[in-house]
Amino acid sequence: MTRPRTLYEKIWDAHVVEQRPDGTALIFIDRHLVHEVTSPQAFAGLRASGRTVRRPDLTLAVADHNVQTTARLDAAGNRLPIADPESAAQLAALEKNAPEFGIRYIDAVAPEQGIVHVVGPEQGFSLPGTTIVCGDSHTACHGGIGALAFGIGTSEVEHVLATQTLLLQPSKTMEVRVEGDVGPGVSAKDIILHITGVIGAAGGTGHVIEYTGSAIRALSIEGRLTVSNMAIEGGARAGLIAPDETTFEYLKGRPYAPKDADWDAAIAWWKSLATDPGATYDKVVVIDAADIAPSVTWGTSPEDVVPITGVVPDPASFADPSKQTAAAKSLAYMGLEPGTRMQDVPVENIFIGSCTNSRIEDLRAAAAVIKGRHKADNVRWAIVVPGSGLVKAQAEAEGLDRIFTEAGLEWREPGCSACLAMNPDKVPAGERCASTSNRNFVGRQGPGSRTHLVSPAMAAAAAVTGKLTDVRELMA
């Protein structure tokens, strides 16, 4: 009898092409997602060495980081140019490279275009038990459907394009078990913000995290993608959530997903992947769901998390001297005083979107809070950016776009938008943003920008009141 294995170990074992004596393994990659920022140098490398793409059928390209979220077509249906010449050049490179190397490419004006980590699961291109890579750290997102998915650098993008494999060392395993029921107003984003606060930004380094427990199991696929998306913010290489009926229900009938007899065979294999009873992890963290409140970041690391009912911490309150220094620097950058109630912090900008929180469920949660209300006068800029064209169409069919626009928020075209300051959507220096994205790093939303990470419902609450707000106070 074989020894009990974790979900991660089963996926790893099923993908070993060649085990090397030095401990590394050549791992087969089932799905490669490509976007415009980290691929041009990889394609240039292939071209320079006369190599081709080994498995174009397992590769899918989408532009998302640089695309504008304002109109892409004029009234006559002609493509509007991207104003920034460097952004335009990256898009042009992908548009040229994809067909030249025989790769499927979802055009920037195609109805399915969107953020690569929204498009993958939505198209059924990302599947449970597969290995998925992309030149983007938030590839961890696809772990929400039970795929071993992780971000890679451009040299590795080139390696996968050329060989459909990667040379890897196995990761250690970590279980983060969230047991119990979350309270009202607490979403998947609050769960992952809370987890990141507990384990720290380096807590998962060297590990792949499997999220387990009744609170995780109760999440929709949208919620699971949100949790796994931010595994990287806890330092982990990847996040994983075992596929179950919720996963199968979500994937059934999606364009690239298996069909008919293939579907049944796929499900049988997916069901065999769950961690065996008796399997052990290198590290285990247990969290009581009842301890999780709507959460918000105060600093410039995703580990700088407090409940919305909390206050800005005093750097002296941290035991670790290097954390004290980091907290003091964070507060200076964020323009916050220790002891300030988080609910007293005003915000001028609202961003609802990103690969963390731009799916239909996120937009519904934000709209439920916004409905019948209006954004506060001090909120200068508030944008809602769906994660894909299909999410946008669904939201419009449900009338969510009108709820946002009637409240004074802008309804945009899909893309990465104000997550990372590579396109025109930026937060000005010195201004604050309540953001549903995944990073609050220095300068992340633009030089000098100040980011507070929150859930979609919390971002909507902040839009209405003009300050960080406990969404539970706005719930009927």
């Binding site: 092409v17 030095d22 590394t24 050549l26 087969f28 920022v37 980290t38 140098q41 060495s49 080994r54 498995r55 397992l58 640089n66 920034d84 050049a89 990256q90 490179a93 198209q123 291109f125 599947l127 597969t130 983007d136 750290s137 590839t139 992780f150 971000g151 650098g153 451009t154 040299s155 390696h159 050329a162 060989t163 040379l167 990761s171 930004a201 380096a202 380094t205 060297g206 990287i232 330092g235 290489r237 690239y256 298996p258 069909k259 293939d262 579907w263 065979a265 690391s301 290097s322 220094t325 980091a326 990372l420 300051a421 590579m422 990073r439 790093f441 220095v442 300068g443 992340r444 030089p447």
Partner: protein
């Protein structure tokens, strides 16, 4: 990739923990289709301070960087390694790295040395006045004051750095194994080929 064996010189005593890839190279420097010239944008927000270490008389062009826990966290952007390399840095010394950054570093001929915080604290002191010596072959960091810190590195990474290896060429030697795997995969999980 340029091979690396021994590096001696001044070490920039940055010391900060959680230095993320947005700090190493902000996103607006990523809007290029080349790997070159990233050093200009390296540590841009820190270098906005005229008294920053990177541009100081003692440390400009220093081949070693000393940092705190979780160096290179955040994005998978290899531009972070390109930027550090373009500054002339060949070795980073820190208690821990993000997994993606350390992989990217090795692929660009940059050695990520892992040492415990106590060793980092001592090297930060030495770096204020004196050079540091890093020897990949013997896996040691030494100072002019008889300090000697041994570090671990996995054998494959060590070989890549010492030989300046091209990983794609190495993997291409396993072409038959990859083809055999693909054939078996088609038999075991035929539904994996995308339907559309």
């Amino acid at each position: 990739m340029t091979p690396i064996e021994k590096v001696e010189g001044r070490a920039i005593p940055l010391g900060l923990k959680n230095v993320d890839t947005d700090v190493i190279i902000p996103a607006h420097w990523l809007k290029t289709t080349s790997r070159e010239g990233m050093g200009r944008g390296a540590f841009e927000s820190l270098r906005a301070d005229p008294d920053n270490l990177f541009d100081s008389a003692e440390y400009k062009g220093a081949p070693i960087l000393i940092a705190g826990d979780n160096f290179g966290c955040g994005s998978s952007r290899e531009h972070a390694a390109w930027a550090i390399g373009d500054l002339g840095i060949r070795v980073v010394i820190a208690p821990s790295y993000s997994d993606i950054f350390s992989g990217n570093a090795v692929k660009n001929g940059i050695l990520p040395v892992v040492l415990p915080q106590a060793a980092i604290d001592r090297l930060m002191e030495v770096a204020a006045t004196d050079p540091i010596h890093v020897d990949l072959d013997t896996q040691t960091v030494t100072t002019p004051f008889q300090d000697r810190f041994a570090f671990e590195i996995d054998p494959f990474r060590k070989m890549c750095l010492l030989e300046g290896l091209d990983e794609i060429s190495l993997t291409e030697k396993s072409d038959a194994a990859i083809a055999a795997y693909e054939q078996q995969l088609d038999a075991d999980r035929p539904w994996l080929r995308p339907a559309a």
